[in-house]
């Protein structure tokens, strides 16, 4: 157990070193050095760079003159809000669609769910997002086109999570601000979650179909348990562990998708900030943004690895 944990941490550490080498290289592109390095040797400067990172000094943007870390933290809540909402959709809808398909395998329901997810799987999200806007916002008019909240609401940023700020903030709009913010969240979240949701649905289906072939399921059936009970109580519990791992892996897909989604929906998160920095050749900000996003993906993967290690004894191999 300890050894396999160690292995996870060592792998993560190697990834982190690789990551910081890359971001350090990016920071060297900046016309003004990111920090006042003492040494002239690039090799030593790298370690000084690491030192600054640990002191939470990520440099200042050479375009806007603002602190990179605080700029990141300013944009991150918007991203996290969208990400969590999308993740919720991925799990709830992905798993339910998978269950429906598995229960009806071979029927038209199964085929249409699988067909739809295949389409979802292969949909470029920048196009999908525009299509959703065209239909739901411009044609039906039920969702706003972009942004986090209508402009007649002026919500002071406190936690910078719009849903939270509309609830805790000192304003006179009541709950309508909250629902307005929620309404703004739906289209971007659907756009962002589409691909991972399709993957999730297909994975759930294949995991369930696999499990439903086992002897113990047949036993359960012969005991006269209802199909619903078999799926929800017996099969799903066993499928859950692999689904959790797969679900965790969707985070990296969501992370890449979020940059495009934020651009489309004018969502003021990290992705938009990164794109703007790239367009302005703002290397300190690019460095910081990539560092933070990749760092989170790595940490999250470590987390998932540990959980699946606990759940699945087979993965606890000793060092070869």
């Amino acid at each position: 157990m300890l050894i396999s944990l160690l292995r996870i941490f060592v792998t993560a550490l190697i990834s982190l070193i690789g990551l910081t080498v890359i971001t350090f290289a990016i920071s060297l592109q900046s016309s003004i050095p990111l920090h006042d390095y003492q040494s002239h040797s690039v090799f030593v400067q790298y370690f000084e760079y690491l030192g600054y990172l640990f002191q939470a000094n990520w440099g200042t943007s050479n375009i806007t003159g603002s602190d990179v870390l605080s700029e990141f933290l300013k944009h991150f809540p918007a991203t996290l809000e969208l990400l969590l909402f999308a993740l919720l959709i991925v799990f709830i809808c992905g798993i339910s669609l998978g269950i429906v398909a598995a229960k009806n395998r071979g029927t038209w329901i199964d085929n249409s769910v699988m067909g739809a997810t295949l389409v979802g799987y292969s949909m470029p999200i920048f196009w999908w997002g525009l299509l959703l806007v065209l239909f739901f916002s411009l044609f039906l008019g039920i969702f706003p086109v972009a942004g986090r909240i209508d402009y007649q609401y002026y919500i002071e940023p406190i936690s910078r999570f719009m849903l939270v700020d509309t609830l805790i903030g000192n304003h006179s709009y009541g709950l309508s601000a909250f629902f307005n913010a929620l309404n703004h969240l739906i289209l971007p979240a659907i756009t962002l979650s589409w691909v991972p949701m399709a993957i999730m649905a297909r994975m759930t289906r294949s995991a369930l179909v696999n499990i439903l072939k086992f002897e113990y399921v047949r036993t359960a059936r012969s005991k006269g348990l209802s199909e619903n009970r078999i799926i929800w109580v017996h099969a799903l519990r066993n499928a859950l562990q692999s689904l959790l791992t797969i679900g965790g892996l969707q985070i990296s897909i969501l992370m890449t998708g979020i940059i495009i989604t934020e651009h489309i929906f004018a969502w003021p998160g990290v992705g938009n900030w990164l794109l703007r920095s790239v367009a302005r050749q703002d290397y300190p900000s690019i460095q910081g943004g990539i560092l933070a996003l990749s760092f989170m993906v790595i940490i999250f993967n470590v987390f998932i690895d540990i959980i699946s290690n606990f759940l699945d004894p087979k993965k606890r191999r000793p060092l070869a």
Partner: protein, 551 residues
């Protein structure tokens, strides 16, 4: 449902449920009477401003965010035109030699206030001197604030041009120049030279919070700063004590939407009242909708095909003339500009007061081009590089396509060509270094003076430092534009510029291609929004009327 078995119906229920789950919260939104009220104006802008002080950044986005709202200059342009009018300065005089400018300021101009500062006095000469000296003097306490630089001030060489600035009375300022410079007033009227509060700087300095000076700006403009969230919005509140204008709009919000398709979608859905930088296709859609108005101003910009006159065979005027006859610009106007630009006859467009209507316009005549090439001794043709700028600009929406069209046209007169492109930064550096043979580029003026086109683009001084990409240096032309720059009588200047344009017409360091108008889409409920020929939007006196009144 009778034909559906019990089992099936539970499946259908599950299916429905999971779809419902997919559309969590899909219920129609809490309805808000209208997306934007009568006292709220939402402007869909194209990006986040780099800074809230236009002294420190010349990008159009920064200027649009600050110039029409926060600040005023000594003088400015009459909305929608390039004519000067008094603003902070009520009157001014220039001495005989054209080197000393005396300004009399209004005495009733109030500054904005915020949680860090409430002004105790009106704007006076100290603020004017403070605002210019901050940019001019390297030892000024605010000069290096937040690592700022002053690209416009330095680009115009104002630090060298201005010899001294002096207060000659509470509301009197005198500026002495090292040499006569007739575009000087036009320069002072640009949005890059706002007058800011000295008292605010003093207050912040005492509190040791000077870094807030440009982040929480204080100005004198018709709207005051409320909040800015990068990538999201900029909020302004009407400034009730503005000295000249009073808008009926209480809140002004810049909704930052970088993607043009989404910007148009937001505009169509009523999430904003004004849309910046519509694409040609949006203009077409807008023309079919009677609730949308298009504001169009003839623009002070030009797209051109520049010839590197230091490289043979382009050093030959005959060859350059031939290339001028060889290109079908009408086809370019149709294919690249969607017929939304006017063909250029020279660097200056018809909106400039110095525009000279030439007798012989540039026409497409491949026959004549072949003949000229023959005369120049290149009858058998040659090979040419066309460098096409890799980015989209208002004056050139698609340089690549333009290059391909020119390539086809050149084949007809026996010239084969290659299209060259690099990443934008590299492209500009290489062109500045003169590595190109011909280049498709353009220019947007930053002040309305005709000199703003001729000196940076075609003077000898600019032929080596970069922005004269034709590297064309013509002594007679250079003398004429220098004389014009030092002359203050506008009629005499017009004559000089006519001579200069005549020389250009013969020498052809470029093929001028097009002037593209500036566009803005607005809802017909919004009145009195202007767009200057320099491309800056103007909100002073903007009003919103009810939908019923709009028809």
């Amino acid at each position: 449902m009778s034909f559906v078995s019990e089992k099936k119906s539970s499946h259908t229920k599950l299916l429905l449920l999971s779809f419902l789950a997919c559309l969590i919260g899909c219920q129609p939104s809490i309805s808000v009477d209208s997306k934007t009220g009568s006292n709220l104006l939402v402007y869909c802008s194209e990006g986040s401003p780099v800074s809230l002080n236009p002294q420190t950044n010349t990008s159009g986005t920064t200027v649009d965010a600050t110039a029409p709202t926060l600040f005023n200059q000594l003088l400015d342009y009459i909305p929608g035109t390039t004519e000067l009018r008094p603003s902070i300065a009520t009157e001014w005089s220039i001495n005989e030699k054209g080197t000393i400018y005396r300004f009399t300021l209004r005495d009733d101009i109030a500054f904005h206030s915020n949680e860090h500062f409430s002004p105790s006095r009106h704007l006076n000469a100290d603020d004017v001197i403070f605002s210019y000296n901050r940019q001019r003097l390297a030892n000024h306490p605010l000069h290096n604030l937040n690592g700022n630089s002053y690209p416009y001030f330095n680009g115009q060489g104002l630090a060298k041009l201005i010899k001294r600035i002096e207060k000659t009375g509470q509301y009197q300022v005198e500026i002495e120049l090292t040499r006569p410079e007739s575009p000087f007033l036009s320069i002072l009227a640009t949005p890059f030279l706002p007058i800011q509060s000295k008292e605010y700087a003093d207050t912040l300095m005492k509190k040791n919070q000077l870094e807030l000076y440009d982040k929480n700006p204080i100005g004198t403009g018709p709207f005051q700063y409320l909040a800015y969230e990068a990538d999201s919005y900029l909020r302004f509140k009407r400034f009730d004590k503005h000295f000249a204008f009073q808008s009926s709009v209480e809140h002004l919000v810049y909704s930052i939407t970088p993607d043009p398709a989404m910007r148009f979608a937001r505009f169509s859905a009523g999430e904003c009242d004004i849309m910046r930088y519509p694409l040609p296709v949006h203009n077409k859609l807008a023309a079919q909708d009677n609730t949308i108005e298009t504001i169009q101003t003839p623009a002070l910009n030009v797209a051109y095909w520049g010839f590197n006159t230091q490289k043979p065979p382009l050093n030959e005027p005959k060859v350059r003339q031939a290339l001028n006859f060889a290109v079908n610009r009408k086809a370019i106007a149709r294919a690249v500009y969607d017929n939304q630009a006017i063909l250029a006859e020279g660097p200056l467009g018809p909106s400039s007061w110095a525009y000279a209507i030439s007798q012989d316009k540039i026409i497409y005549n491949p026959e004549k081009a072949r003949q000229l090439l023959q005369e120049a001794g290149y009858g058998e043709g040659f090979n040419l590089d066309i460098w096409a700028m890799p980015v989209q600009r208002a004056y050139n929406p698609n340089a690549r396509k333009m290059a391909e069209m020119i390539q086809q046209d050149l084949l007809e007169i026996g010239i084969t060509s290659n299209i060259v492109s690099y990443q934008w930064g590299t492209f500009l550096n290489r062109v500045a270094a003169g590595q190109h043979q011909t280049v498709l580029l353009g220019w947007s003026a930053d002040n309305a003076d005709p000199d703003n086109f001729l000196t940076p683009l075609l003077s000898c001084a600019a032929s080596n430092n970069g922005s004269n990409y034709s590297r064309w240096c013509h002594t007679e032309f250079d003398n004429i534009i220098l004389k014009a720059r030092q002359e203050s009588d506008i009629e005499k200047r017009k004559l000089y510029y006519q001579q200069a344009q005549k020389i250009l017409h013969f020498e052809k360091p470029w093929l001028p291609i097009a002037h593209t108008p500036n566009n803005l889409l607005i809802k017909n409920t919004v009145k009195d929004v202007n767009l200057s020929p320099l491309g800056t939007i103007n909100f002073e006196g903007v009003t919103i009327i009810s939908k019923e009144d709009a028809f």
